[in-house]
């Protein structure tokens, strides 16, 4: 397992390097002149040229990339001109908020997705299965940004049970309970689609496993249905489900963009939307890079978890 983990970590290096190339290329492709964008359209050509030189933008692209990569290695992602602060500071601050939201959503969708999948598989074609299968279909069809608005209307505006926006109350907020209250609606909204996807996959994976011979053996041993379902069938199905949870992490991280906008969650998604509108290239670049890298890392975790659960894969 240790050797495998190290090999997987090493295999990560080219992927991460590839990510930096793509992200850098995106920045380089942006039309227009960053110096003009920073100085405004009234800047003199001399000033623009000087700034270009300072930013290293007069050098060949490949050289620029390696300089940028070198800076990245030192934790220097440049400076956001719209916020006038280092990109890394801003991105990390925002990303921690996104992690709280996405993490909560991921826990929710994993737990409920697995449970719904197991329940529906266990009662295939029964009433519970049909009702839940339909609910799941509704869940994966509903636009998450719209669902967020509906939940705000119901729970924040009508019932006044939960706050509608932000991460903390403006006055006297900041406690863990306050955070949890602010988290309920956005995390739920963010989790709905992924829950549906995981539930569907779990159902079909469970049904696939339940027809296999070792399930018959488990029953022939005299195990109870609960044990057969959870201890044997689910245990085997999980191996197929975990990679999908890894992929869902990507949808949750991406979907956070909508949810953060709807609930004004101070995360990296909302930051990106603003940065795109204000054409703050370095900020977009930093945000995309950090989120994408975290997705890659999460997939590595899913991969390791799968290997750990399935002794047949280890070599």
């Amino acid at each position: 397992m240790l050797g495998y983990t190290i090999r997987r970590l090493l295999a990560l290096v080219p992927v991460l390097l590839g990510l930096t190339v793509i992200v850098f290329a995106i920045m380089a492709m942006i039309p227009g002149d960053p110096a003009t964008a920073i100085l405004g359209s009234y800047a003199t050509p001399e000033n623009v040229a000087r700034l270009n030189r300072e930013l290293g933008l007069d050098r060949p692209l490949v050289e620029q990339y390696f300089i940028w990569l070198g800076n990245l290695a030192h934790g220097d992602l440049g400076r956001s001109y719209s916020l006038n602060r280092p990109v890394l500071d801003e991105v990390l601050e925002r990303f921690s908020a996104t992690l709280v939201l996405a993490g909560a959503a991921l826990v929710l969708c994993t737990v409920f997705g697995l449970l719904i999948g197991i329940w529906t598989a266990a009662r295939q074609y029964g009433l519970v299965d049909r009702v839940l299968t339909f609910v799941v279909l509704v869940g994966i069809s509903i636009p998450s940004f719209w669902l967020g608005l509906l939940l705000i209307l119901l729970f924040a505006v009508r019932l006044r049970w939960l706050p509608a926006s932000g991460m903390q109350a403006i006055y006297g907020g900041g406690g863990l309970g306050d955070l949890a209250a602010h988290l309920v609606l956005p995390a739920t909204t963010l989790a709905v689609v992924a829950t549906g996807v995981i539930a569907r996959l779990t159902r079909s994976a469970m049904l696939e496993v339940l027809r296999q011979d070792f399930i018959r053996t488990a029953r022939a041993k005299g195990l109870g249905e609960g044990r057969v379902l959870y201890g044997h069938a689910f245990r085997a199905a999980l191996v197929a489900i975990i990679p999908v949870i890894g992929v869902q992490a990507g949808f949750v991280l991406g979907g956070a963009v909508y949810i953060e906008t709807v609930f004004q969650w101070p995360g990296v998604g909302g930051m990106l939307v603003t940065a795109i509108s204000t054409r703050d290239v370095l900020l977009v670049q930093g945000g995309v890079l950090v989120v994408a890298a975290s997705y890659v890392l999460f997939n590595l975790l899913a991969d390791l978890a799968q290997t750990w659960l399935d002794p047949r894969v280890q070599t």
Binding site: Y125, L149, P311
Partner: protein
């Protein structure tokens, strides 16, 4: 149940199709409908609630008619979603076909690039592309199309790789067609249906994603409005005028939902496994639906196992396969009965029916009784049945690789069996498990107990299978071809272990096999099965010496030398009849060289005197 489900599914799919068609038709007809100008502002009319005069769905913050905006917005959203799907399909499929057809370095390079793109979270990549191109509906369209390219590239590459090496493509290649012509004449027509299906499953997503970008203000720019930007505008008035956000959201939801319903319906309809019921979940115990009342139990102690008139069917849709057609068996304590027959004769289904382990659906037990110590397992509550399984009666299955759980250590699988029937602490159960593994002659049992099934050899795995069956000291063991999947060299060892333990513990054994040689080694009595019925039974030695049923005689003739025979039974010309089309009269008649007119009509009873019985009108003579 399966048909019910299919109807339910298809009704939903039909519903989705109808809704989708209606939406598309209305969107197409938008210019012809008597709608007010969607962009006409009227400050005096602003924020009218739905159902007000002159504005069925109300108006927005600029007094624009929401119904009109909704229909025009739907038109735009559909157009953009479909366009994105077409672009993604075109580019992605091109990449996929090239990669799959050319293979080698090009394939590697293209797929590496696709993998890189997939390392980005889906929506994030779309955002990055919009950041490059700048906000705008067309740019959002490109972004959404680009993010979906990998999906098409991967799927289509897979299909193309499969096609590129098929005979008809090779033949065309040999006839001197160029690569490009091959692609257009041979590959593309075969890939096209896959592309269309992939499009139909992703188009809903693409409509949703473009709407999402517009919602964020990165897609369509005012005054032009698609559903997403309507929702984005409505959101600003969420509290004062909730209808402005609810209306466009409902429309997006309806479109995506109906696309998904339709897609699911199509996929299910194309899946043959769903029709055949092969995707059904087997219940904890085989369903019992007896046509007649249970035969009354015989008085007195009786044998350990008594099977009376057992019938098991597989009901697939309207077709009924009767695998077991009225079987009677009895096993006394300490006795070994061999149940022998060709594959498909119903011997395994008989064995599995005893503790109701036949997969159900589609299996149903339709008649008979299975008494174990006088109690009918077919009438038992699930919990009572569970207590017998693996405790009083246990099974050894054919293929130990498929029948042991692949992800659990073999020791743990034994421990589980022990603790399912007795409140033994884990430690003690583990010790018992290791001791049992030693009894089946697994070398270094303490270490082997920590192995996973795939780490053991076939012979070792089957020893684990035997240990699993014997660990709770059962009274009866049912062994279903336990050595068939094994190497000839290890078969003898396994049989010796099984026989030794049986005698030592005084177990009863029901041994299912197709091999008379094995029966002669192990069994006191033998029952020969053909087409779901017992055709002959008697003490092994007597049946071997003087078979009375023509089928039995031929079976024995197939074994060149008793005890050494490992040959399969293919030597008998012809095949057993299909169990859904049993001939009237004797099922063996088509293959029997003595068959007469009388053999093909009516029921033939299993008749005999003393220990022996035979189901034949013209049994072989018993030599005096």
């Amino acid at each position: 149940m399966t048909t019910l489900r299919l109807i339910w599914r298809n009704r939903l799919a039909a519903f989705g199709g109808i809704v989708l068609c209606a939406v598309v038709v209305v969107a197409l007809l938008a210019p012809l409908l008597p709608l007010p100008d969607p962009d006409l502002t009227a400050p005096a009319e602003r924020l009218k609630p739905p159902f007000s005069a002159g504005a069925l769905l109300g108006t927005d913050h600029l007094g624009r008619d929401l119904l009109s905006r909704l229909i025009w917005g739907t038109r735009l959203s559909l157009a953009v979603g479909i366009a994105a799907a077409v672009i993604a399909a075109a580019i992605g499929s091109t990449i996929g076909i090239i990669a799959g057809f050319r293979g080698g370095r090009i394939d590697n390079l293209l797929m590496r690039g696709i993998d890189m793109l997939m390392a980005f979270p889906y929506i994030l990549l779309a955002l990055a592309i919009v950041a490059v191109l700048g906000p705008g509906l067309v740019n959002a369209l490109y972004a959404v199309a680009a993010v979906n390219v990998p999906f098409f590239a991967r799927n289509i590459r897979g299909v193309t790789v499969g096609l590129a090496h098929r005979e008809f493509v090779d033949a065309a290649r040999l006839s001197g067609k160029s690569g490009a012509r091959l692609v257009f004449t041979e590959i593309l027509p075969n890939v096209l249906p896959v592309i269309v299906i992939a499009m139909s499953t992703t188009i809903g997503w693409m409509i949703l994603e473009t709407a999402g970008l517009s919602f964020l203000g990165l897609g369509s720019q005012p005054p032009q409005a698609d559903l997403g930007s309507m929702l984005g505008e409505g959101r600003k008035l969420l509290i004062t005028a909730p209808h402005a956000s609810i209306v466009p959201g409902v429309m997006i939801f309806l479109i995506v939902m109906s696309v998904n319903l339709l897609g699911d319906g199509v996929r299910d309809a194309l899946d043959p496994r769903l029709r055949s019921g092969a995707l059904s979940r087997p219940a904890a115990a085989t369903e019992v639906r007896r046509k007649a009342a249970t035969p009354a139990a015989g008085a007195g102690a009786g044998p350990l196992l008594a099977v009376e008139g057992l019938e098991t069917e597989f009901q697939v849709g309207a077709r009924v396969y009767r695998a077991v057609g009225g079987v009677d068996l009895a096993i006394a304590p300490g006795e070994c009965l061999g149940l022998i027959g060709e594959s498909g004769s119903g011997k395994s289904v008989t064995a599995l029916s005893l503790l109701r382990l036949v997969a159900s659906p589609p299996g149903v037990i339709t008649a008979g009784a299975v008494r174990i110590g006088g109690e009918d397992t077919l009438a038992m509550k699930p919990e009572a049945l569970r207590r017998i399984r693996g405790a009083r009666v246990s099974y050894i299955f054919q293929d130990p690789l498929g029948t042991l759980h692949p992800l659990l250590r073999v020791g743990d699988q034994l421990v589980e069996a022990i603790r399912a029937h007795a409140p033994v602490p884990r430690r003690a159960a583990w010790a018992r498990a290791v001791a049992m593994l030693e009894r089946v002659q697994i070398p270094n049992a303490a270490a082997r107990a920590r192995s996973y099934p795939h780490e053991l050899s076939g012979g070792m795995r089957q020893r684990v299978g035997i240990a699993l069956a014997l660990v709770n000291d059962p009274e009866l063991v049912i062994a279903d071809e336990p050595t068939t999947a094994l190497d000839v060299t290890v078969q003898a060892g396994i049989l010796a272990i099984l026989d030794g333990l049986r005698r030592e513990r005084g177990l009863s054994l029901l041994f299912i096999t197709h091999d008379f040689g094995v029966v002669s080694q192990l069994c006191d009595r033998v029952a020969v099965m053909y087409a779901g019925r017992i055709v002959e039974t008697g003490p092994t030695a007597e049946v071997l010496a003087a078979p009375r049923h023509p089928y039995t005689r031929r079976l024995i003739a197939c074994v060149p030398e008793i005890g050494a025979g490992r040959r399969r039974l293919e030597a008998i010309p012809g095949l057993p009849p299909p169990v859904d089309a049993l001939p009237e009269g004797c099922a063996f008649a088509p293959r029997c060289d003595k068959a007469a007119e009388r053999c093909r009509t009516g029921q033939i009873a299993l008749e005999g005197s003393g220990d022996r019985a035979v189901r034949c009108l013209f049994p072989e003579e018993v030599p005096a």
